[in-house]
Symmetry: C2
Subunit: 356 residues, 2 copies
């Protein structure tokens, strides 16, 4: 199995820690390893370094070389501009298929949290088996923990077999991020899972489907294949991307394909969408605070305090997020953490590039 790690995220929701030069996947959020390093480490038992492919933007390539010295540089594919997930996956699939025709590949975001890596690997292993045998597009779905509006939903139907102990189901329908009422309906209906954005398939299978659903994109990128692995590769990719339209693999392919199947993942997953998600996942102290640094909490509970370099006192406030960095400070209500994006928007409007 190959593993393609999509590491192109911008991560403005983790400002002021995340910056354009240092998006979420390159930050050490849950341990002393970055999220990208954790992602690679997690699959280490299943996929050796030479079969790991990273797709990223030019501005992050150098940091990735530094963070992952064991991965061959030729495996780090650079997109000149972000064009959403379909071109990224198409390029990586072409790369894998050229390297080893008939290989199975997993597509994983670089910045997700997995509470139970062992169970995660078991799930990937089953998915690879299903992808091989069914020649299907295998998605990993997460049992919803509530009517979240920040995730896509997938309705599944009939079981189509058990692979290495895990049942695989036909996908009935993909749903984009719903309104709250719709999300509640989904949960009431049952047979519904969150879309984790993780996929397993034979490179050849997804390429067939891309060719069928997005023929223009497929043609442009397939033309690059002879250059892949040569000195001209980057130049060819750069040129190809100029004419490609951005589209997600879900919207562009998965929703249209008859070959989509799904497998339930139960491994403590989070896409870590905001500071609030980090609070939810992290271990709390006796006051239900998640603390990093020298913090004095007086009559203060339920907060995430990241202040590794400055003594910080919180007095009489509950459920807040405080993030203190070298040059910027965020103080935010925990349930408003998604609005941190607005701060980044304002900084952009004000032209304050050094904080972006």
């Amino acid at each position: 199995m190959y593993c393609v790690i999509m590491a192109g995220g911008k991560g403005s929701r983790f400002w002021p820690r995340s910056r354009s030069a240092l998006p979420k996947q390159l930050l050490d959020i849950f341990s002393d390893r970055t999220m990208l390093q954790e992602t690679v480490q997690r699959i280490g038992g299943l996929v050796p370094a030479e079969r790991i492919v990273i797709v990223t933007g030019r501005e992050h390539a150098e940091a990735i070389y530094q963070q992952l010295p064991a991965i061959p540089r030729e495996n780090i594919l650079i997109e000149p501009i972000g064009r959403n997930t379909a071109p990224c996956i198409c390029l990586a699939a072409l790369w894998v298929e050229k390297k080893e025709p008939g290989a199975v590949m997993a597509v994983l975001p670089a910045d997700h949290y997995i509470g139970n890596p062992q169970e995660f690997c078991r799930c990937l292993d089953s998915a690879a088996d299903a992808a091989q045998q069914l020649e299907a597009l295998v998605t990993i779905g997460i049992t919803p923990r509530g009517p979240e509006t920040g995730y896509g939903y997938i309705q599944y139907g009939q079981e189509c077999g058990t692979y290495k102990g895990l049942a695989v189901y036909r996908v009935q329908q993909f749903h984009e991020k719903p309104a709250l009422i719709k999300a509640r309906e989904f949960l009431a209906q049952g047979n519904i899972l969150w879309n984790s954005g993780m996929f397993i398939w034979k490179a050849a299978t997804i390429l067939e489907e891309i060719k069928s659903c997005l023929p223009e994109m497929y043609g442009t990128l397939a033309a690059v294949v002879p250059d892949l692995g040569t000195a001209q590769a980057q130049q060819a990719v750069d040129a190809a991307y100029q004419t490609i339209e951005g589209i997600s693999i879900d919207y562009g392919v998965m929703e249209k394909s008859a070959r989509a199947v799904i497998l339930k993942g139960d491994f403590g997953w989070s896409d870590v969408g905001s500071w609030s998600a980090i609070y939810d996942i992290s271990e709390k102290d006796a006051q239900e605070n998640v603390v990093s640094g020298d913090v004095i909490a007086v009559d203060a509970r339920g907060s995430l305090i990241y202040s590794p370099k400055k003594l910080t006192a919180i007095v009489g406030l509950d459920n807040i997020v405080v993030v203190e960095t070298e040059d910027a400070l965020l103080v935010c209500a925990r349930d408003k953490a998604q609005e941190v994006k607005k701060v980044v928007d304002i900084l952009e409007q004000q032209g304050k590039k050094k904080y972006l």
Copy 2:
């Protein structure tokens, strides 16, 4: 008139800006001048520099020399240890009476806010006239803005004349900081004022009263008089303070004296007791925030943000206090600002002297 400025405060309620080496009166809180400098400047039209006396602790003397170069060094009296207001006032009165027998002196805290300095000076001028003519202990009382429990209260009786246009009343009773119920009773009764801690009297008058009410303290300090103004002065004062008991002028003298009178001051006074008081006094922006520094407020109102050196974003939180300094950060509910003292207590317990 002489003016004695009491500048011995510790100011732990303004942590992390105030430190043991830099108490409130030495901080620039409302302008680019420190509160002590403002206090001196405010009375500049009434009292020349050579008639201003500052009483402070040894650890702050150097800072005061720096901040007030126009005031003769011999006018800066150093208490070796804080012993509350009575010894401080007694020493200063002895100094003034030696310098100019029969002089009137005003006693002012170094760290109060006065919104209308002109009216304040008019009030001092009236008080000086009353002090001279009545040979009384004149207190300035503030019309209560509500049933505050952080101030002493003074009940007044019959008018005993008008001095330079302002009425002066007999004091009936001093009350220490009351419980809320008691404070409400005071307001309902009427004829009640807050104790501002500002006094005007002839040095000779207060010395007579101290001699009568606190004869031991008076004796100890009066013995120092021959040394005042000589090279032995500090040594004599230091020795005298070793045996003096600490007591406030209110409790030790004012409450017992039959010569106390009061004059209503209406000049936008605050004793600036906490970060919350600074918020109350300061000018607000359109979101009712008081901001110092580069601050982005998203869905955030009613807060005091002091962060002169670090870009600070506040998201989805109202009525908080954020104070960012070189080495420490405070995030506090505005209505819990008085609990900042607890942070200082904890730092003391933890032996973290560098933050004190």
